[in-house]
């Protein structure tokens, strides 16, 4: 099929316009973060900065409690992802490899749980955590974040385990492995890419979570980065350079992870149909 000149040009032209529109906010964040203040507070925006400075990053990093919050965010994220992976691995193995009564019901339960409206459950969670005297602690955050990502982790891991040919496992068992050994020595090593892609989703969810930490942890020492970032602009007035530097620091780990694992992440996310 031959297309006219116009027919060949417009898709590319549209793509360029869309690309600019999609990337601009991300570009502008980084650009502002590195620009000297004079280039930010100006009547004519500097589209392509020629001078660079790290002073905004310096200001963001030396903001009160910054490193405590980084430590909190990292701890909560890693622990919750690990916790959900371990719990999910057992469940996913059963759902992928065994036939039993109620299996379909369990899968539907996890699908339903995956759509849980956490944003609207925060008042009830607040009451539960308060009654347990656990406000301003990282433990409830970790546990609830693990639960938020658990259903999808189970469902995607199930897909990955099912993708490992059953013959491999069976031949290991014929060779004298127990089922546990077969799992550990045959399936588990083949699961590594699946585990990485699955934990990426958990990582993003836990790193970004906002409503729950907003309601549970009023003590600044026990908060996480999203909450800090949302209040940053208020705290720093109109210091957009420092605000964008803080945003960049917060976004960078996710952007890097996402780009590295993009292909797997996309297929993994579409399995369970959840947005990052």
């Amino acid at each position: 099929m031959k297309r006219s000149l116009f027919g060949r040009i417009w898709p590319n032209a549209t793509a360029v316009v869309l690309f600019v529109g999609l990337v601009f906010p991300v570009y502008w964040m980084f650009a502002t973060a590195f620009k000297p203040t004079g280039d930010i507070i100006t009547d004519n925006p500097v589209w392509f900065p020629k001078h660079f400075t790290l002073s905004h990053f310096d200001r963001a990093v030396h903001a009160d409690h910054f490193w405590t919050l980084v430590a909190n965010s990292v701890t909560v994220t890693l622990c919750s992802v690990l916790l959900s992976l371990v719990i999910a691995l057992f469940a996913a193995f059963a759902l992928a490899r065994m036939r039993f009564k109620g299996r379909r019901g369990f899968i539907v339960t996890f699908m339903l749980a995956q759509m849980a409206p956490w944003e609207v459950m925060i008042i009830a969670i607040y009451m539960i955590v308060r009654d347990g005297d656990m406000l301003n602690s990282l433990v409830p955050l970790t546990v609830f974040y693990a639960m938020m990502v658990l259903p999808l982790t189970v469902l995607t891991l199930r897909g990955y385990i099912a993708a490992v040919p059953k013959e491999l496992e069976e031949s290991a068992m014929v060779d004298g492995c127990t089922r546990l050994q077969a799992f550990r020595k045959v399936i588990f090593p083949l699961l590594a890419p699946g585990l990485m892609a699955t934990s990426l989703f958990g990582f993003i969810t836990a790193w970004n979570e906002f409503p729950l930490v907003l309601i549970l942890n009023k003590d600044i020492e026990k908060q996480t980065l999203p909450l800090w970032l949302s209040q940053f602009q208020t705290a720093f007035g109109d210091d957009w350079g420092a605000t964008m530097a803080a945003s960049s620091l917060f976004a960078l780990p996710i952007l890097i992870l996402f780009i590295f694992l993009q292909r797997k992440a996309v297929s993994g996310l579409t399995d369970g149909a959840v947005k990052g």
């Binding site: 065994m98 699908m111 849980a116 609207v120 059953k166 993003i204 602009q233 964008m244 960049s248 780009i259």
Partner: protein
């Protein structure tokens, strides 16, 4: 839904059948006594931790939410740990007040505007991706992935900066385009303008999911269908409506439902942008529940609003799940 699982299904199907035939003892020992009992319990034991977690961490808050919504729970009761049941009083108060219905109307319009834009633009970009050459497609995909990966709160902060009253780049552009009254426009000062920024943010964040998945879905359409259509004399538009669209229809339906659910319960974007302001005019249902329940410390009333919101979401979700289960019947 994805290419990957379908691929494994066709690859794994015959393999399983082949593997089963020479190994009848496995099926036989399931019927016998003691090892069989252990085998039968194994899947349930493996599922136990996940089920307990779901019950305690998801089920209990849902039940608790229901219970709280029947209680008179204000700062006094909260501090003294009193449980005062007040029947349907909270619901009565919520449902007969004018505020709630205004928020419901606002949430529905907000969700509709977002979802229509997301689905329309996302689908068009997905179809465009299928038409582009390799290099341009990769470029556009990079742009989509960047927007997709951007953390919500970071994105919200960036949009605040883009739309800042002073030195914001959007106002500058509008001014240069001849719209001089916009030079110092305060986007956060009005209901419609604040919503415009929030909608733009959510649409920008959500398009990649739709576009990339739709593009992935178009790659699974068999080429023969198009050939057959063109042999039958179908033009570009006809082959689109008779081949592409029917093929993508289930995907479009389920994605629309997903987006409705996600947008309806969107919290961080709306809250972090302007905290539901100005004058509480951009509070959607989740924000309204939070501000009433926690901000104004009417926890019982807040729980009632939450519960009503959850009910709405549950209905939408069950429709969505029914659709997905029908599509993937054989996969379960």
């Amino acid at each position: 839904m994805s290419v990957q699982t379908e691929g494994t299904d066709t690859a794994g199907g015959p393999a399983v059948r082949k593997g089963r035939a020479p190994a009848p003892p496995r099926g036989a020992d399931r019927a016998s006594r003691s090892p069989a009992a252990r085998l039968a319990a194994a899947p349930y034991l493996l599922l136990l931790p996940a089920l307990v977690a779901t019950l305690v961490l998801l089920g209990w808050p849902l039940v608790k939410n229901g219970m709280l919504s029947f209680q008179n729970l204000n700062p006094r009761q909260l501090i003294q740990h009193l449980t005062e049941w007040n029947g349907f009083h909270n619901y009565q108060q919520v449902l007969t007040g004018s505020d709630f219905w205004k928020v419901v109307e606002r949430s529905v319009l907000f969700t509709a505007a977002n979802v229509v834009l997301i689905m329309l633009i996302g689908t068009l970009i997905g179809l465009l991706l299928a038409r582009l050459g390799k290099k341009m497609r990769l470029t556009l995909l990079v742009g989509l992935v960047l927007a997709w990966a951007m953390p919500v709160i970071a994105a919200t902060t960036v949009y605040q900066w883009l739309f800042a009253q002073r030195f914001g780049v959007v106002n500058w552009v509008l001014d240069k385009l001849g719209w001089h009254s916009m030079a110092d426009y305060n986007w956060m000062g009005g209901q419609f303008s604040t919503f415009s920024v929030i909608v733009l943010l959510i649409v920008w964040q959500s398009i990649p999911f739709v576009a990339i998945n739709l593009y992935a879905a178009t790659t699974t359409i068999p080429k023969e269908l198009y050939e057959a259509a063109s042999l039958d004399g179908a033009g570009a538009w006809q082959s689109f409506t008779s081949v592409t669209l029917p093929f993508l229809r289930p995907f479009l339906y389920s994605t629309t439902f997903l987006e409705v659910i996600w947008v309806f319960k969107a919290f961080p974007q709306v809250f972090a942008m302007n905290e539901g302001g100005p004058d509480r005019l951009t509070e959607t249902l989740p924000i309204y529940a939070y501000v009433e329940g926690v901000g104004n410390q009417h926890f019982g009333v807040g729980a009632a609003i939450s519960f009503l919101t959850i009910l709405v979401l549950l209905v939408i979700t069950s429709y969505y799940l029914r659709m997905v289960l029908k599509q993937e019947e054989d996969e379960l």
